[in-house]
């Protein structure tokens, strides 16, 4: 485009006309076009038709008894009619995901049939070898031997197909379009037959999944290295592998009007409190939303207080940890497409624990827990303490140290709190950038950025060296917090405490801590007080910050109120000469 053309474009009065570019419409316009309106009406008609057909059939079946009622659906005898409705439902031919393969079952005479499945969700090998092959090639063998062949065409029935022709291990009858659609969308193959109002869904699920990998956020040095994946059944299997007990129950619920996500509720019957199981189920069943595609999203729908700064349940990617919690009477929720289990209820203290605490010998487990608590306190209060000391309580520091701090701060133009906020923001930037940068170079970039930026900031006299130290220690401490969500909460609380200590020194800091403590004390996780078993005290306060020896952990946590509190015998190390003698009752004496 030449210069004149460009100028002409700007000088052309028509350039001020209404923009013709694409828009979804202005405020006040109807959201749907005329076509969309027609489509919506067609969809409503289809659904209404299905309902009307079903009601008619139910009325017919009512006098025949319960079994007939259960087998009543809206499918037609006419295969073409069924396929037409199915295509309408799945928006064919625009939708290319649904595959309909029409064929003839090799009965005498041949029976027209159709196999329907969703491409990508199914295992085509199973469809070919275990569905198509028996029906198209092997079913003719049947009429040579048995009553079916002698009776000719009338002998064909879905029951016969189900019992004699389909070798698949999970096949079910479907009587209506809606349940057929559900089966298709979960990866089953649905078979429709001419002259039959019954469809057969055969298990052919094979959704794309990754293999079991290592934990990303809950790594351990000692202990298992497998982690949950996005495949719901694989996750259930990973837990079941560790709990070989028939009392382990997995209830499967479906959440999400569009996503229809499988949500598995795992618990150990006779250990988990029935009221807890019922409550978790009630909360999940109450969710009426379009889509739930992650455990962390589901968690937000079911937790007690969504406004809390700390999580109301525990998200873990470790099957061993999940199994351990189940054995203590907790409930685990596994969401399809999510590599995390939700553990409920939890307490604040369990958020500071890791599974490694139990894999290490007990003194080291306890030491690690104390270090983590210290790290949490440092991450929470160190900047606020520093600001309070240098602004209000200088007398606490030895004179030489105070003079040194004052001399390093002399050339810094900003007040200490602004200096701290700037450094904190920079630190958060580095942290966020480190998370988004590809993992190979992420840590290097983070390290270089922090070193170079820190050094440059000190040399430019924008910040004092002691401030770098404070921010670095705080950052390091925040990385030592084992739970990612707690880390987030602590960051927000830190700014709150910083603001208060800037205004009122130690008094403000203490007031802020008091408010945070009240907030925690008022929290509940599925009916369990957040700070229990410390406040309120429930039974023996053990396994909180000190990890007792495993052989002394005879009881499950009191707060789960399990019907069976004892988890191991009173004396586990019976062989040990130092072990106390068993009580007479134990020997039956």
């Amino acid at each position: 485009m030449g210069l004149w053309q460009s100028l002409k474009r700007w000088l052309d009065p028509s350039s001020t006309a209404v923009d013709q570019s694409f828009s979804l419409g202005n405020r006040g316009e109807k959201p749907a076009s005329e076509n969309q309106g027609t489509e919506m009406l067609a969809d409503a008609r289809l659904r209404t038709e299905n309902v009307i057909i079903r009601i008619d059939r139910l009325m017919e079946a009512a006098p025949k008894g319960k079994e007939a009622l259960e087998k009543t659906g809206d499918l037609s005898d006419d295969l073409e009619q069924n396929l037409k409705r199915l295509k309408e439902l799945f928006r064919l031919p625009e939708n290319k995901d649904l595959v309909i393969r029409e064929f003839q079952v090799a009965t005498q005479p041949p029976t027209p049939a159709a196999a329907c499945f969703m491409e990508g969700l199914t295992n085509t090998g199973i469809i070919n070898d275990h569905i198509m092959q028996p029906l198209m090639l092997l079913s003719h063998l049947d009429h040579h031997a048995g009553a079916a062949g002698e009776d000719g065409p009338s002998s064909f029935s879905p029951e016969m197909v189900l019992k004699r022709l389909l070798p698949g291990n999970q096949s079910t009858e479907k009587y209506d379009l809606a349940s057929m659609a559900d089966a298709l969308l979960s990866g089953d193959t649905v078979l429709l037959f001419a002259g039959s109002r019954v469809a057969i869904a055969v298990e052919t699920k094979s959704p794309p999944t990754r293999s079991v990998g290592k934990p990303e956020t809950e790594r351990v040095i000692w202990g298992p290295h497998d982690a949950f994946t996005e495949a719901f059944r694989v996750n259930v299997a990973l837990v079941r592998r560790r709990l070989k007990d028939p009392r382990v129950v997995t209830e499967v619920l479906t959440v999400g009007e569009i996503s229809k996500t499988y949500v598995g509720l795992m618990y150990i019957d006779t250990i988990a409190h029935p009221k807890l199981v019922a409550e978790v189920k009630r909360r999940i069943e109450a969710i009426k939303v379009d889509i739930v595609n992650s455990s962390s999203i589901l968690e937000q729908y079911i937790e007690d207080n969504p406004n809390s700064l700390l999580p109301g349940s525990l998200l873990t990617e470790r099957p061993d940890r999940t199994a351990a919690y189940l054995s203590e009477g907790h409930v685990a929720i596994l969401t399809d497409t999510s590599p995390n289990a939700i553990i409920c209820p939890i307490t604040f203290w369990s958020l500071l624990q890791t599974s490694e605490d139990y894999y290490l010998r007990y003194p080291f487990g306890s030491v690690l827990r104390w270090i983590r608590l210290m790290a949490t306190l440092i991450a929470l209060t160190l900047p606020a303490l520093y600001i309070a000391v240098i602004n209000y309580h200088q007398e606490m520091l030895p004179t030489e140290l105070m003079l040194f701090i004052a001399s390093t701060r002399e050339q810094v133009p900003m007040p200490a709190v602004a200096e701290l906020l700037v450094m904190d923001v920079v630190f958060e930037l580095i942290r966020e950038a480190g998370t988004r940068i590809p993992s190979v170079i992420g840590p290097t970039i983070g390290l270089v950025a922090s070193l170079v930026l820190g050094q440059a900031a000190v040399e430019a006299k924008i910040v004092s060296p002691i401030m770098i130290l404070i921010v670095a220690i705080t950052g390091l401490a925040s990385f030592a917090i084992p739970n990612y969500l707690v880390g987030f909460g602590v960051r927000v609380m830190r700014f709150f405490l910083l603001a208060l200590s800037t205004v009122l020194g130690f008094y403000g800091l203490a007031a802020g801590l008091f408010i945070l403590l009240i907030m925690l004390a008022a929290e509940r996780s599925f009916g369990v007080p957040y700070l229990t078993p410390v406040a309120p005290a429930r039974g023996k306060v053990r396994d909180i910050l000190n990890r007792p020896p495993l052989y002394r952990m005879e009881e499950r946590p009191g707060y789960t109120r399990t019907s069976n509190q004892q988890r191991q015998e009173e004396i586990v190390r019976k062989w040990d000469p130092m072990a106390p003698a068993p009580t007479p009752d134990e020997n039956g004496g």
Binding site: Y392, P398, F506, A511, A521, P536
Partner: protein, 366 residues
């Protein structure tokens, strides 16, 4: 009936009463004890403890007679719908007065000790906001937070006493009977009204599952407070001597100032004061909650929370009314404490009325 506030156990009750009473030791009360008893200030504390426990007996008898009920319900049942709310109103007013004077006393203490350049209003606003939030979240939250904080508060105070031990001169504790037995006993009984704040267990009577828990909370909490007060009085007199200690309005703070653990750990009083701030906030929160719940009950309100906000706004100007710290101290010593006896008489009166009118206990059940 008020919204569900949960329950508190015996342990939580003891912690709550102990925290509410012992926070007074960070104020001018140890000075009062030494003023009355001289070198025998600790004996005054002991008499005060026994007297306080004795004055609580009617409160406990009343809770046992009306288990699972709060003060407003008890007084209505025992004294009728006219006199009952009036008596409840008197206790609520006294609790409110105690809250206001405590707020002013703590504010002055913190300003003098750690925030010398800060005007009183921001300190008061912060304290009231904390108490408001705590009371808003309910009794369970307050008692649980107290359970976590009490070891810090008690530990901080204990450390001050322990590190002061090397400076204690036992000869300062003599003459053994101080100003004499009669002033010691009368003074101790006078300050027994310090335990009047334990009347909050009556206000929170509805939260105890078992009336015996309320009894233990009141008696054990007061006993622990008395032992604490005795220890503070001993160390205070041992370190400063009776004449100086009786003129010291911030005795524990001054003890903390004397601690020197080495060159790096000097002047730790600011850090220790942080724990005392916790104690002050617990006291204010409990008093505010008790006052609000009781007042709401007396006025027949279905819910205490709306009252909470208006009371919070009212408390700050009321606390600013005394001209200075000295007036606050005088109001506390000469008005609030004697009126504490009157407050403790009300439960006795209610109990008597309940017995005469055959209300509560087995009579009611029948």
């Amino acid at each position: 009936m008020y919204q569900y506030e949960g329950h508190i156990s015996r342990r939580e009750g003891i912690t709550l009463i102990f925290a509410v009473l012992s926070s007074m030791l960070f104020l001018q009360y140890p000075q009062f004890l030494v003023e009355v008893g001289g070198p025998a200030g600790w004996q005054v504390a002991l008499v005060m403890t026994l007297g306080g426990m004795a004055t609580l007996l009617p409160v406990i008898a009343l809770i046992r007679r009306f288990p699972g009920r709060g003060l407003d319900q008890i007084s209505k049942a025992a004294a009728g719908v006219v006199l009952g709310p009036l008596l409840t109103l008197l206790i609520a007013t006294w609790l409110l007065a105690s809250l206001v004077l405590s707020l002013r006393s703590f504010t002055e203490t913190f300003i003098v000790t750690i925030l010398p350049d800060t005007p009183p209003s921001p300190v008061m606003v912060m304290a009231v906001l904390c108490a408001l939030y705590a009371s808003y979240r309910g009794l369970e939250a307050i008692s649980r937070a107290t359970q976590i904080l009490l070891p810090l508060i008690a530990g901080g105070s204990l450390l001050v006493l322990l590190f002061s031990l090397p400076r204690v001169d036992t000869s300062l504790l003599f003459p053994f009977w101080g100003h004499g037995l009669i002033p010691t006993v009368t003074g101790g009984l006078y300050y027994a009204s310090m335990a009047a704040e334990a009347v909050v267990i009556l206000a929170f009577g509805y939260a105890f599952r078992d009336p015996n828990d309320a009894r233990s909370s009141g008696l054990v909490g007061t006993l622990l407070f008395g032992l604490g007060a005795t220890a503070v009085a001993v160390v205070l007199v041992g370190v400063f001597g009776a004449p100086t200690a009786s003129q010291n309005p911030f005795p524990l703070f001054n003890l903390a100032r004397l601690i020197y653990l080495g060159r790096f750990l000097q002047r730790m009083e600011s850090l220790i004061i942080m724990f005392w701030v916790f104690a002050a906030l617990v006291r204010l929160a409990v008093l505010m909650h008790a006052a609000t719940v009781t007042l709401g009950g007396a006025l027949g309100l279905p819910h205490y929370r709306p009252l909470l906000f208006s009371l919070s706004v009212m408390i700050i100007p009321l606390a600013l009314l005394p001209e200075d710290f000295l007036v606050t101290l005088r109001l506390d010593r000469d008005w609030l404490r004697p009126l504490g006896f009157a407050v403790l008489l009300i439960p006795a009166l209610l109990w008597l009325l309940a017995v005469i009118r055959r209300k509560g206990g087995e009579t009611d059940a029948a």
